[in-house]
């Protein structure tokens, strides 16, 4: 019984993928227009994109930029967020600035940053950095704020210095919340990557996608959508694995369904 259930849980996302592709295929066959090829055709176009050396290098370069921007953002944002959570002065110093900058689409800064830094790597990494840092700061802030005072007092009573308390008490206690922020950041990094490449139109996965759209190569468009989507799902799954290993202690061991129906 247990085995069947875990097997079912493993297979369910796969079934969902197949189901969605099936719906796509059926809808395309019913609509039957040029601009909406069936799923099979788009899937058939994938090997030719990934087999092409230039586009493969492009896609890998996109991933590298994303990785660099994401790690830099996480490295800066977590300490800042934790400090904001523990010190009221730091929080009220940075909070309004974050509120003002949060709704600004970071990829929309791309044209301005391009004016300053050119269309190179730095501009794109900077945009990804900006996009990822805000959710991570925000969630680290919320996580650090919710740490129980009692634990900090006991830590202080046992002779931990302020810095030690930060690393050994606040960081682990806020970790589940921080990782939620990182997960949002990961999705935002992908979005920012695609759009910044779409705006800069020089290289990368976003560039291939929108160039194909402009040139009317519809099967390439849909194949790139599948590739970028698969990147998102793959990265999310990897992150989820890491997350469940790091913060298994904070999750209930079983789920209780609501019973009233």
């Amino acid at each position: 019984m247990m085995l069947v259930r875990t097997l079912g849980a493993r297979l369910a996302p796969l079934l969902a993928c197949l189901g969605l592709l099936g719906i796509w295929q059926a809808a395309a066959l019913v609509l039957n227009t040029d601009s909406f090829p069936p799923a099979m055709e788009a899937i058939r176009a994938i090997p030719s994109i990934l087999g092409d050396k230039e586009s493969l290098i492009n896609i890998l370069a996109s991933l590298r930029r994303m990785a660099v921007g994401f790690s830099l953002a996480v490295a800066v944002s977590i300490p800042l967020g934790l400090m904001m959570g523990r010190s009221r002065a730091v929080a009220s110093f940075f909070n309004p600035l974050l509120m003002v900058t949060y709704p600004v689409p970071k990829a929309a800064l791309m044209p301005i940053i391009m004016l300053w830094l050119g269309v190179g790597e730095i501009a794109k990494i900077l945009v990804i950095f900006l996009g990822v840092s805000l959710p991570v700061i925000y969630h680290s802030f919320q996580g650090a704020k919710a740490v129980e005072e009692k634990m900090l007092w006991s830590g202080a009573a046992m002779g931990l210095s302020a810095a030690q308390r930060m690393i050994r008490i606040v960081l682990p206690a806020a970790l589940p919340e921080i990782l939620t922020g990182c997960r949002t950041g990961l999705v935002l990094a992908l979005i920012t990557m695609v759009t910044s490449e779409m705006i800069a139109r020089q290289s990368g996965a976003g560039n291939i996608l929108f160039n194909a759209l402009d040139m009317g190569q519809y099967d390439t468009v849909y194949a790139m959508i599948i590739i970028i989507g698969a990147m998102g799902i793959g990265l999310d799954a990897m992150f989820e694995k890491l997350r469940s290993r790091l913060v298994r202690w904070s999750e209930p061991g079983f789920e209780i369904p609501l019973s009233f129906a």
Partner: protein, 255 residues
């Protein structure tokens, strides 16, 4: 928290913004950056004030706001309904959960070309994109909020004779409201970002389109104006949502 502490907090919060503007002014006025790259803040804010009074600029804001609200409302209605259904019924849960796991981490902007081809270049494709992006945070927080409802509350309601189908609306939904509103807040920020991006990619009106046309003609001042406008819009909408939150949650211990 007394009034004095609040004022000092506000004052402290203004400092970095003021510093940023001062730095901007300094870079511009000491000639480190030519005005074509970084126009002085005074010029940008003057231009913003001037633009806000013109009819065409108001129309652009209107177009952006219309798409934002349409997409966001669809996301709220769908997200709350599906989230509640998934929390209440194991059958719905079994179907919805894997689909959400697949669709939630998908970068929706990548779907935009497909939406363009299917729905055309008008409002529909942009509204769909906004709705698709705002949907998942709202759906997930509704689901978590509703499944965290204390069983005691449901039992008490049942013991008090509430019909089973009303429990969903009288107990589960109100108890999940704080979580739903948190999801809405994230969804709102995402809607602001996405509507702007969609307008930047292809559009004939809206704030994003203003930015792109300014960028093509290297009008640095006009590039800053739509960015500041969307930031202000985000702040105002967030404030409205916060107001709604404190109104809806007036009985809750902690807001």
């Amino acid at each position: 928290m007394n009034a004095r502490a609040v004022t000092s907090d506000v004052l402290l919060g203004i400092v970095p913004i003021a510093l940023l503007v001062a730095l901007w002014q300094a870079i511009a006025s000491f000639g480190y950056a030519p005005a074509t790259l970084l126009p002085p803040p005074g010029l940008v804010f003057m231009r913003l004030a001037q633009q806000l009074l013109t009819g065409t600029f108001q129309q652009e804001i209107g177009a952006t706001l219309f798409r934002l609200f349409a997409g966001f409302s669809i996301a709220v209605i769908l997200g709350v309904t599906v989230g509640l259904a998934a929390a209440a019924s194991p059958a719905v849960n079994a179907v919805v959960r894997p689909i959400v796991r697949v669709l939630a981490p998908l970068p929706k902007v990548a779907l935009y070309p497909a939406l363009l081809l299917l729905l055309g270049f008008g409002h529909e494709s942009k509204i769909t994109l906004v709705a698709a992006d705002a949907l998942f945070p709202i759906l997930l927080s509704t689901y978590y909020g509703a499944s965290m409802v204390e069983q005691k509350l449901i039992w008490s309601a049942m013991a008090a004779g509430t019909p089973r189908r009303q429990i969903l609306f009288k107990v589960v939904l109100p108890a999940a409201v704080p979580s739903i509103l948190t999801g809405c807040r994230i969804g709102l920020v995402i809607s602001c970002i996405v509507v702007f991006l969609a307008e930047m990619i292809t559009s004939t009106d809206g704030l994003g389109h203003l930015l792109v046309t300014a960028a093509r003609t290297f009008q640095a001042v006009d590039m800053f104006v739509p960015l500041i406008t969307i930031s202000l819009l985000g702040l105002i909408l967030n404030g409205l949502l916060q107001g709604l939150r404190s109104y809806l949650l007036r009985g809750f211990p902690e807001v």
